[in-house]
Symmetry: C2
Subunit: 428 residues, 2 copies
């Protein structure tokens, strides 16, 4: 038992409470920080990351040595590994966030009332954002910078495997903050030795935390969604569909299906199920399946798919709701648009779904009736990304229906208030 | 013990599950209902309420008889009582909701990407809204109609004292729905005999409920905020402030202060604390206090206030955070703008706060730095109301920072999705 673990639990809770209080105080200051101040802090962070490359790599080497000793797999070690190139990418990412427009203070809407009151809806920061993540140390920089840009204080809780790397990165963020005259507590890191910290954060730290963003695998997101007592911006799974409609252009359908599945199989916007309209299955099913197979994708198909093409293994009921995140796709023949929409509503995860068709009316119905954060017509599901949407950086993609849905960028990390200007109006 | 109460608890849970499933199915239909359909249903509801006035009053008489037998107080009985005038007001209120623009399908934002993708952010319904209320039977009609207008299914759980009245009103809502060809399950009422129903609703009914709106007193809202596992649109208290700044116009300040406190003392936007700047306390404090006293208000003041005016009782520490909802106000002299903002941030409830001043810079700082849903300059806090904001009807005022803040009208009962139109784009 280490010295840290021997501490009484009340100490951890007390430390977390101070972190919460400090975050609230910092948030109040940040809410009124100018764009110039915040961008100066961001550029200072990028500078500090580059200047401290050697120190960051040294800390990362210690984390890596421990992790390798514990026998972690190659993918885990890759996520944890920092290189000069990855540190430069972090710095450049922060500089890009600095170039985005400051959302805080933007007037979203404004109108006059008959009594002369002028009402405006103005963007404000959300407050304090808790970020719970795993082994990727770069989340420290990305999430901290994005929260700051929107005027929020951040409380970061990373994985214990990457703690030394994350702490070295965090020191650079704090350097940028203090140089710009902003409070160091704007971005705080929770010591990973406090095992109770995650639970305290999910409970909202006595009202200090306004929203939690989990960054990591399904088990982390699932735990956060299950236990959090504050709002969560996240998606658990992206079981995304491409529906090839009766009026689809086959060449376009092939390109989109292969891209949606195979461009990168591990991203949340990767297609997991291909639905092909029975009206064109006779001509299109086999070429679509073969195009996927040529690209290296394994096919799990329903009976009609297995009859149409070779090398297709049977799809089980569970396949229709499986997020493979791998070079595997489930393929089903459906009886028209309604059946396609029904399938997506039944098995999908309300993340991202696409229709390929030249029929504008069918596309309009699909876009209206599929209840997903992102619905596409004649485009790949892999466009599900804040950068591709033109939002700049994103902290993730949300499938909840409240506040933030789809890519969560700087704007989605804000709230709003009503600013009312009068000349002495009283209510009759 | 009645037959209903003798049912095993599993039956109640099963019944609530069916209500949840039916609401989800109805929500899917409502999400694609046209504005014409929804407005026809609303007008049908209004018609049915007027046509069934006698039946509603008869059921209300039964509720009232029981309640009087149990010795309820006059205010409670007043809230429960329906009259022909109140039924007409309900019908007229629903007709007004029918005249509002349909928010669903509205394009909130649209832009083109360099690759030719056209991205739109489109309003969609939230889904299923649970409304938990107390003795006012009219909430049945108001909340049900507002949810329908935004394309949401509603699950209503009213108080047991008004159950028969609410059920009679609910029958009229269902008549309007079915006449317009919309599912009866778009607005469902939970039988009040199920004591476990509120708990099941707060847990989200197995994911069926997207948001809970409590309508009632502080103890109801407090329980809902404490126990809900789904987002809640509500405010617990409105401890609203009027700050009379050093550069305030005295005549305007008097009018605003008296209106903010005394127009209606029981509304959430009523002022509970008056802050007077020390720079003008010598000349303004006494006239302000006397104007309030003349209007019938009791004053609880700090030392400076007690020294300046007669008939002021001492304010305790608890007074600064008390929502009186009565003809009582706490009065404090503060050392300038920063002290006023600090007081509001410390004791306020982030609901509605006002500054009275002729100094534009001071007003701008107050409006920016006071972290409340509604901040006003030179206007009464009693304008905190969806109708006064021009939103039409509201389901309440929210002080949460996510999704809906301030008055919650039809627009705030919606979500959004991204609709992306391409011409075969794939991601490089």
């Amino acid at each position: 038992m280490s010295l840290a673990e021997a501490r009484p639990p009340s100490s951890a809770a007390g430390e977390m409470q101070s972190i919460g209080r400090a975050a609230c105080a910092a948030a109040r200051r940040l809410a009124n920080a100018t764009g110039v101040e915040k961008d100066a802090a961001l550029r200072g962070m990028a500078h500090a990351l580059r200047a401290n490359e050697a120190a960051i790599l040294a800390e990362n080497a210690l984390d890596l040595a421990d992790t390798k000793r514990e026998g972690a797999n190659a993918a885990f070690i890759d996520r944890l590994t920092l290189t000069p190139k990855r540190i430069e990418a972090m710095a450049a990412g922060i500089e890009e966030i600095a170039t985005l427009a400051d959302p805080v203070g933007t007037v979203i809407a404004g109108w006059d009332r008959p009594n002369g009151l002028h009402i405006e809806r103005v963007r404000t920061p959300l407050g304090v954002i808790g970020i719970i993540y795993e082994s990727r140390p770069n989340v420290t920089a990305d999430a901290g910078a994005l929260c700051l840009k929107a005027g929020n204080a951040a409380i970061l809780r990373g994985g214990s495997d990457s703690y030394r790397s994350a702490r070295a990165i965090h020191r650079c963020l704090v350097a940028g903050l203090t140089e710009a005259g902003l409070p160091a507590e704007a971005i705080q890191m929770v010591p990973t030795r406090d095992r109770a910290a995650v639970g305290l954060m999910l409970a909202g730290l006595d009202g200090a935390i306004d929203v939690i963003v989990p960054r990591g695998g399904k088990s982390l997101v699932g735990r956060v969604q299950m236990e959090a007592r504050v709002p969560v911006f996240a998606h658990l799974e992206g079981v995304c569909h491409v529906y090839v409609h009766a009026a689809a252009d086959l060449a376009m359908a092939k390109q989109i299906v292969v891209n949606a599945k195979m461009r990168r199989v591990g991203v949340c916007g990767a297609a997991e199920t291909l639905l092909v309209d029975r009206a064109v299955a006779g001509t299109q099913l086999r070429p679509l399946v073969e195009a996927l197979q040529t690209a290296g994708c394994a096919i799990r198909g329903d009976e009609a798919t297995r009859a149409a093409a070779a090398g297709v293994t049977p799809a089980s009921e569970a396949d229709w709701s499986t997020e493979y995140l791998d070079a595997v796709i489930s393929v089903k023949v459906v009886d028209g648009l309604d059946a396609a929409i029904d399938h997506i509503e039944r098995y999908g995860t309300h993340h991202t779904d696409a229709i390929v068709t030249t029929d504008a009316a069918a596309a309009a119905r699909f876009l209206a009736e599929v209840d997903s954060a992102i619905v596409l017509h004649n485009a790949s599901t892999q466009f599900a990304d804040g950068g591709e949407f033109g939002m700049g950086a994103e902290i993730g993609i949300a499938t909840g229906r409240l506040h933030a849905r789809g890519p969560v960028g700087v704007e989605q990390l804000t709230s709003f208030k009503y600013r009312v200007r009068g000349t002495g109006q009283i209510r009759p």
